[in-house]
Symmetry: C2
Subunit: 214 residues, 2 copies
């Protein structure tokens, strides 16, 4: 169960809230990027960035000089998948089918070398499974330039909307087509870097992704 | 030109910043949802939500009772498209090809009825082109329950990354495949609401979307 706090207890659309931790993991694990919200100089700032998950910890990284990760103040991390557009009989009930996770917390700057590597590995593998061992590992200098933050998944909520529109009772008689227009993501064929200096095959861990629908 | 302020002037990855207003419009017009960042009780909060654009104004809507739109404090609206995963020769240079727009500002609560309708129309048409005139228009009661906010695009920035990885000079000799794994979005076949009470064809403005790649 996700432990609800006042702000992760949804006041509206309660039927869309999930409380199962597996739902949270599923939404996070299916994502490529999150939107990280911070307060900078009193104003909200929302930046797209990579992330990775190990058990109940989300890892974020950034340059040690970046604005969004400069402090370790409170953050809100949101991961959203849009699954389709919900076309209702009335304008008012148009909607989106989606899966979304929100995590609130105060991230911890990771100082332990082993955890830093594990966090970076999780972030890399989230984006590109298999690449942590296929590519050159981070150098000491690269590691020094990278801040790794750990955010507990203790305060999180998941919202999922799926299925057809929900219209006003009297609108079901209207001669208006209603339903869902699904949105799909898929991988295209890998595009080799023109600067590849030798004739290398696309490795199986990359090639195999292109036959899977995200 | 986008007018840069200190916070829309990127300190890092300057080569990814665009200053052309057409780039901003293109990123916004291609999106379905944005991530809206607000400060609620001193903490950042990032919620996915719909939006629409008319000229240099972005429109947002919400329930008149929702947390995220309760005040008209400062917001940050971010729209991100992920176009692919950049697979580099080193872990450190893995990246994402993306197009992202960030808008900062203090939204204005729209009170004028005509502008409210225009804003709601823009939000509906952003998600579902053609549906504003195909579906039942909002009733007086529905309009009363909906807050419409207008956000100026005056303070905005666009960041775009495209193309192959950029690796360290000495890493180009490594026998590691490098390139881009493109990510594509496409519409699936429209799924009719099982509650449709008559045999209606999918209207052309919906059916025609499914042959276009987003």
């Amino acid at each position: 169960m996700l432990s609800p706090t006042p702000r992760t207890t949804l006041r509206r659309s309660k039927e869309r809230a999930r409380t199962d931790r597996e739902d949270l993991y599923a939404v996070l694990d299916a994502g490529l990027i999150c939107h990280l919200g911070v307060v900078a100089d009193g104003s909200p700032m929302v930046v797209p960035t990579g992330y990775g998950r190990i058990d109940d910890t989300l890892y974020l990284h950034g340059s040690t000089g970046s604005t969004s990760l400069r402090g370790t103040g409170e953050v809100c991390v949101t991961v959203t998948h849009v699954d389709g557009v919900v076309l209702a009989r009335s304008v008012f009930h148009h909607s989106v089918n989606y899966r979304s996770a929100m995590i609130y917390g105060r991230p911890r700057l990771v100082e332990d070398d082993e955890e830093r590597l594990a966090g970076l590995r999780a972030i890399t593998e989230q984006l590109a499974p298999g690449q942590w061992s296929a590519a050159r590992p981070p150098s000491r200098k690269e590691l020094a330039a990278t801040a790794v933050l750990a955010l507990s998944l203790a305060e999180a909520s998941v919202k999922i909307r799926q299925g057809p529109p929900v219209d006003e009772e009297e609108d079901y008689a209207l001669p208006v087509w209603a339903g869902v227009l699904p949105l799909r993501s898929s991988w295209g064929a890998p595009e080799a870097d023109p600067a590849l200096i030798m004739d290398l095959d696309v490795p199986p861990h990359i090639a195999s992704r292109t036959i899977s629908i995200r």
